[in-house]
C-alpha cells in the first residue's frame, strides 16, 4: 500500500507543476509535503487499528509465551522470563500429540464435509424451482444461531438414552449409538455438528461464485454436446477455482480454532477424545490459570494457521502469474 502511494505522489505533483510555467521549488516542496501528510492521514486509521487490535495482542501473546504468566501477574505485573520452558512443557505433554492429531482430523473432516455438501447445495440451488429462494434463506439458519445454543441443542438431541436422534434410529432397529459418550465416536460426532454449522458459509460463497459464471458458456457447451458432468468439469470447476480456494483457506482458518462447539458438546471429553489444540490452550489459560503455557500453545496454533495463509497466497500468486 505504502509503496504505491510513494510512486503516485511525485507523478501527481509533477502534473500540478506543469500548469504553472515557471515552477518555484519552495512552493512545490510545500505542496508535496501537504500531500504526503494527507496521504499518511488517510492511512492512519487503518494503521492504528492494526497496531491496536492486531499487532498488540499478537506481540503480547508472543511475549507472554516466554514468561511464567500466572494469576499473580495480573495483580503484581511481575512475569519472570522463562525462555522456552513453556513451549517445552506444552509440546512434551502427553496430550499434545492427541490434541494435534484431533485438530488435524477435525479440520480435514470438517472442511471436506462442509465443502462437498456446500457445493452440492450451491449447485442444487442454482436451478430455479418454486420456493428455492425461501429454502436458500432457511439454509442460513445454522449460521444465525449462537454457537453455544446450537451445541447445547445438539448435545441434548445426541444423548445416548433419551436423545431424539437415537430414538429416531431406534425405529429402524439401529441400537443406541454412543454419539458423545464413546471416545471412538465422539470426534466424528463433533465433526458432524461442525459440518452442519459450516454448510451455510460454504453454500453462500460458492453460490455467489456460481452466479458469476456466464450462462452463455453453458449454452455454447451444450451446443457442442457438453452437458451434465462434462459441463461441470470443463466449465463450472475451472471457473469456480478462485472462489474454491478462498472458501477452503477461510474454512481452514475458521475451523482450526473452533472452541465453543467442542466445549459445548463434550468439553474435550470423553477421555480427551475431542481435545484439540484450541480447547487445550483454553483449558491451560482459563481453567488452570497457566497463561504462559496457554499462550505458547495458541502461538503454535497461529503458526499452523499462518502456514495455510502462506500456501493460499502462493497459490493465488501462481494463478495470477499464469
Amino acid at each position: 500500500m505504502t509503496s504505491t502511494a510513494t510512486h503516485v505522489a511525485p507523478q501527481r505533483a509533477a502534473g500540478d507543476g506543469s500548469t504553472t510555467p515557471a515552477p518555484r521549488p519552495a512552493r512545490r516542496g510545500r505542496g508535496l509535503r501537504f500531500e504526503r501528510i494527507a496521504q499518511l492521514l488517510f492511512l492512519l486509521p487503518a494503521v492504528v487499528f492494526l497496531v491496536l487490535f492486531f499487532g498488540y495482542p499478537v506481540v503480547k501473546n508472543i511475549v507472554m509465551s516466554f514468561q511464567a504468566y500466572t494469576t499473580s501477574t495480573f495483580y503484581t505485573g511481575e512475569a519472570p522470563w522463562v525462555g522456552l520452558s513453556n513451549y517445552v512443557s506444552v509440546v512434551s505433554s502427553q496430550l499434545f500429540s492427541t490434541a494435534l492429531l484431533n485438530t488435524a482430523l477435525f479440520t480435514i473432516g470438517s472442511i471436506v464435509g462442509q465443502f462437498v455438501l456446500g457445493l452440492l447445495l450451491a449447485l442444487f440451488f442454482r436451478r430455479n424451482f418454486p420456493l428455492s429462494g425461501l429454502l436458500r434463506s432457511l439454509l442460513l439458519l445454522p449460521w444465525l444461531l449462537p454457537l453455544i445454543v446450537s451445541s447445547a441443542v445438539w448435545k441434548w438431541m445426541l444423548d445416548q438414552d433419551s436423545g431424539v436422534v437415537n430414538q429416531f434410529l431406534g425405529i429402524f432397529g439401529i441400537g443406541s449409538v454412543p454419539w458423545l459418550t464413546s471416545p471412538a465416536v465422539a470426534l466424528i460426532t463433533v465433526i458432524g455438528v461442525n459440518i452442519w454449522i459450516g454448510i451455510p458459509f460454504n453454500t453462500t460463497i460458492l453460490y455467489g461464485g456460481l452466479q458469476d459464471i456466464p450462462t452463455e458458456l453453458y449454452e455454447a457447451a451444450a451446443l457442442d454436446g457438453a452437458t451434465g458432468w462434462k459441463a461441470f468439469w470443463s466449465i463450472t470447476w475451472p471457473m469456480l477455482r478462485p472462489v474454491v480456494s478462498v472458501t477452503l483457506v477461510l474454512g481452514v482458518v475458521y475451523t482450526i480454532k473452533v472452541l465453543d462447539i467442542i466445549l459445548g458438546l463434550t468439553n474435550g471429553g470423553p477421555a480427551n477424545a475431542t481435545q484439540t489444540i484450541a480447547t487445550q490452550s483454553y483449558d491451560l489459560s482459563f481453567k488452570q490459570f497457566d497463561f504462559g503455557q496457554g499462550a505458547a500453545l495458541s502461538n503454535i496454533l497461529i503458526v499452523i494457521s499462518a502456514l495455510f495463509a502462506i500456501v493460499y497466497l502462493r497459490l493465488n500468486r501462481k494463478a495470477i502469474d499464469d
Binding site: 510513494t6 505522489a9 521549488p25 516542496g29 508535496l32 509535503r33 504526503r36 501528510i37 499518511l40 492521514l41 492512519l44 494503521v47 492504528v48 497496531v51 491496536l52 498488540y56 494469576t71 499473580s72 501477574t73 495480573f74 495483580y75 503484581t76 505485573g77 512443557s89 512434551s92 505433554s93 502427553q94 496430550l95 448435545k155 444423548d159 445416548q160 438414552d161 433419551s162 454412543p178 458423545l180 459418550t181 464413546s182 471416545p183 463434550t266 468439553n267 474435550g268 471429553g269 470423553p270 477421555a271 480427551n272 477424545a273 483449558d283 482459563f286 481453567k287 488452570q288 490459570f289
Partner: protein, 411 residues
Amino acid sequence: MKPRHRRTPKVLSAVAMLAAVPLVLAGCSGGSSASSGGKVDSITVLDYYNQGNDKKVIGEYLDKCGAENDVTIKRSLVPGASLIQKVLQQASSKTLPDVLMLDNPDLQQIAETGALSPLTDYGISTDGYAKGVLQAGTYKGKVYGLAPTVNTIALFYDKKKLAAAGVTPPKTWDELKTASAKLTANGEYGFAVDANATYEGTWQFLPFMWSNGGDEKDIATAKTAEALSLWTDLVKDGSMSKSVVNWTQADVNDQFMAGKAAMMINGPWQIPALKDSGIDYGIAQIPVQSASDTAVAPLGGEVWTVPNTGDKAKQQVAAKVVDCMNDAKNQLAMAKLRYTIPSKTEVAQQFGKDVPEEQVFVDLVADARARTGELGADWPKAATKIYTAVQSALTGQDSPADALKNAQSSN
C-alpha cells in the same frame, strides 16, 4: 531536499502514533477513585449470583448490611464462568471491587496474587466456623474469605421407586450396587452421577475417593482405584448410564426429575427445582465402602473477601459488610431462603432443627473437606488429573488403576 520532505512526515506521524498508543491504553484502565479518608457513601460489590432466587436473596442481605453501615451497595453481577476472568482483569487495571465474592476453590489462587486482604486485619472473628470453611478461606495461615452459607453433595433418592423395588437407601457400596441393579429397568437407571470432563465431575467423585481414604496429592493409589472401580462397575452392569461422562449436575437432576434415574448425587441447590417437580424425594449420605467408614464430603459454596483496593476507609466498611453477611442471624435467614447450610456450626445445628430435611447436609458440612485444603493454588492441576482418570476409566479406555496411574504421571 526531496527525500527529506518525503521522510519527515512519515517519521513524525509514526512517532505520534506510537506516543498515542499508551495514552489510549491508559484511558482504558483509569477510573479507580482513591479517595482515602472522609466519609464513605457507597461500596462496590462483585458476585456471580446472577439468577433468580440467589440473586434476590443475596441482593437483599447485601443492601441490609450496607444500610447497617450507612453505605449504599453498588452491586455488579457476572455469570459464574466469567468471574475469574473479570477479577483478573480488574486486578491488572486496579479496579477491584470493595467486596468480592469468590467460589471457595478459587480463593487461594486469588489470595496468592496479593489482591486480597486478610479479614483478621479488620478484627473479624473467625470463631465458630466449621473446620472446612476456614480451611477453604485460609491462605498461608491467614483467613481471607468467609462463606455465610455452604453446601455439599449427598444421595437423593426417589421414595416411590425405592419402595416399589423394596430397597432402602443404600449405606455401603455393596448396597449401592444391589439397589442400583434392582432399580434399573425399562430404560430407567438405578443411579446417576456427573462424571463430565470439568471440575464438576471431579467434585462429584471426591466423596467416593475421600471416604475410602484416597488423596488428591497422589491419585495412583489402591484406595482411589477402588472408588473409581465402583463407578466403572455401575456403568458396566448397566445400573448407571454411559452418558454420565457428558452430564452436568443440572443434567443429572433433569434425569432424576424425569424419572430416568432412581438415585442421584447432587446438592441442596437443586431442592427448589425438585420441590416444583412434585417428585417425592429423600436425601441420605453418600454410601461408603464399609459401614464403619466415615463419609467425607467436599465443601462447596462462595466466600466473601475484601480486596486490597488501596482505599483504607472503604476497605474498613467493606470488611464490616462481610462481617454482617456472616452474622449468625443473617446466616440462618439466608440458609433457609437459599437451601444452603450455615457455615457456623451452632447456626447449622439450629438450621437442621428448623429444616429437618437438610439435616444430612448439616452433618456432612460439619466435617466437610475443602478442595484446596491440601494443595492450595495447585488444586486445578490435580482436579484436571482426577476428571481425566475418571473419564478414561468410565469409557473403558483403561482399567481404573491404569487410568489413575496415567493421569497422575501426566503433566
